[in-house]
């Protein structure tokens, strides 16, 4: 029985800024990292592996350099890793991405039964949170998102019980396997790799699948399979260091009003 964890390698977005003067991106030395949400997904997979004895497979679609991130997954204890990499996959939006991932999982499940697909809630570079649901819909798996706790897996009845965190409430849901579970950051704390595993993961062999082995129609993947296109990027106007009320302003009410005005005007809060 397999848990497939989908992970994405992303640029460390906290290090990406737009230069206010030139309008270009400042991203000198911005390293690639494992998408933080996916690190939690991986951790949850490993915990379930320890509890129920699954095998964990880390799956990622991305350029060849994604190998590094998959090795990190092996270093914390994933049993296997597959990299989906092909020029034809490039430029994909979430629709096209979920297509490739779902097909890969279909292929994997032909060899070994897949019980769960675990994804992070969203990625930090895209924030879309829809690859998980996309995979679930394509494969017809149960879809459980915003999960902050996996309560139980009943292998005999093929049922899974989780807790989902929604606005103002938790829901305890039970559903059937195979399921796609998208986890929140709160669910766990990812472990730190041990040195022996790190060393092994450096040398481990990774499987790389390209579109020759996947045989997907070029219209459905990559740029061509994507429905959305970015028109324009620009800098959010939230520069640091604005003093709204200096010490000369001795009127706290006015200071508070200015703050509220600014927050409302920037859609940060609403007063309705």
């Amino acid at each position: 029985m397999l848990i497939v964890t989908c992970i994405k390698q992303v640029p460390d977005t906290t290090q990406v800024k737009i230069d206010p003067e030139t309008g270009t991106l400042i991203r000198e030395g911005v390293p690639s990292i494992i998408n933080p949400f996916d690190a939690h997904a991986l951790e949850e997979s490993l915990r379930l592996k320890e509890k129920y004895g699954f095998r964990v497979l880390a799956l990622s679609m991305g350029p060849p350099s994604t190998e590094m991130t998959l090795r990190k997954a092996l270093a914390v204890g994933a049993d296997d890793a597959i990299l989906l990499s092909d020029r034809a996959f490039g430029g994909a939006d979430t629709l096209a991405t979920s297509m490739v991932l779902a097909e890969a999982i279909r292929k994997i499940s032909a060899q070994e039964e897949v019980a769960l697909v675990i994804c992070g809630k969203q990625t930090i570079d895209g924030d879309t949170a829809q690859v998980g649901p996309g995979i679930a819909t394509r494969l017809g798996y149960s879809q459980l998102t915003s999960v902050d706790r996996v309560d139980e897996i009943d292998m005999r009845r093929k049922r899974i019980t989780v807790r989902c965190k929604f606005e103002g409430r938790y829901e305890i849901l039970e559903s059937s396997l195979p399921a796609m579970v998208a986890v929140l950051r709160e669910i766990n704390r990812p472990r730190y790799p041990t040195v022996p595993l790190r060393i092994i993961s450096q040398e481990a062999e990774l499987k790389v699948w390209d579109n020759r082995s996947m045989q997907l129609s070029e219209d459905k993947i990559g740029l061509k399979g994507s429905a959305t296109a970015v028109r324009r990027i620009f800098s959010p106007d939230r520069e640091k260091g604005q003093i709204l009320a200096g010490d000369e302003v001795n009127d706290p009410d006015q200071a508070a009003r200015r703050l509220i005005e600014v927050l409302v005007s920037k859609n940060l809060i609403s007063v309705q």
Binding site: P11, T14, K17, G91, R169, Q242, D247
Partner: protein, 441 residues
Amino acid sequence: MEEKKRIKKPLGVARLLEGKCIFCGARCQSACPKDCVEMTEQGEPIIDITCCIGCKKCVKICPSQAIEMYFTPEQQRLLDEIARHGAPAAEEEAGQEEVINSASDSGYRGVWVFVEQINGEPAAVSWELLGVGRHLSWQLKVDLCAVVIGEKVQHLCSESFAYGADKVYIVDEPVFRFYRTQPYFVALCNLVNKYKPEILLIGATGVGRDLAGALATCLNTGLTADCTGLGVDEKRRLLMQTRPAFGGNIMATIVTEKNWPQMATVRPHTMHIHEKDPSRSGEIIRERQYIAEDDIATKIIEIIERTQEGSVDIAGADFIVSGGRGMQSADNFRILQELADELGGVVACSRCVVDAGWMPAERQVGQTGKTVRPKIYIAAGISGAIQHLVGMQNSDIIIAINRDKHAPIFEVAHYGLVGDLFKIIPSLTRQLKALRANGKT
């Protein structure tokens, strides 16, 4: 003259502009018909100019205008010459331009808003969506329709009209009592396929995002998540969806050009609710769905209200009001709690506060406490020692309230208020309350 006729317009080669690439995911590489683009480790293109045929596909596809055409001085001279003689310029450009179907001939019409509800209680974001939806529908000159799905939700129709809907599609059946992905997306999918709206807006709540992801996949259309700004390109009937990307460090405007409906989830609190007009009404269209309870894999075991009391999870909170030694006593944290309640957030603190026993250790933010990433972090009476800063530096917006204008917290704050927190905080709470009370009526 003879000679000039033979001048072929140089096409140039594509070149990356330093520092402009946003690692969008190799769009240029996949656009290149000749495979001349390699991606670096970081995801930046390297264009092999020896094989570039100057087709400009990559230039056009790049979302951040990071690629330009480059001409050698030689070619530039030729170009200039051609320009001077006003010669064959026009011929190629038009031919190469891809003709994109415009929405006008897609057959999809109308702006739809999904009305989210729990137990018949509508989520405020639904009315915000109707608010922005109205503007969009006016611009596109179509109807604004609300979609209500649930059990015993009839009353939401009139509310939808009051907040701006022209039409309401309603599905009212027992299987829809609680939100579950499968029945909801199937129902909505059926409706969309039947009525073909051009725009579908859903709130970017936990439920909304769950639903939208599944729905977009089943409709095979684009979805832009968590938008904070919406507009339309009237000519091409395109929804211009603006949202923060890269952890909020940049904003991106995204369009869905060749698939319909154009779907977006919209971040709560970012759109204005239209003034409620109870006198409005409109057409109600009832729809039946035939989904059997037994066919639904997911069961709801329990719903637990999340209250402010008990163990508060500051790590996952969207709004945090945090107090430091400047609070002076455990009692004074009451004023922070009041503000937090008003914002729908939680109270956190610096280490000094935990040391003094004013707050439990699980509320500590910082190096040896928790790391938080709220949308708004308000630091009151916190000096901003680096040990504290590391725990909250990635908050979307940081607001500092401190008496000491040299306090290091102001170096990281987006907005700073120099002054006495005991006056400013209560005033903030009071004014927010007052404004909201006004807004409601």
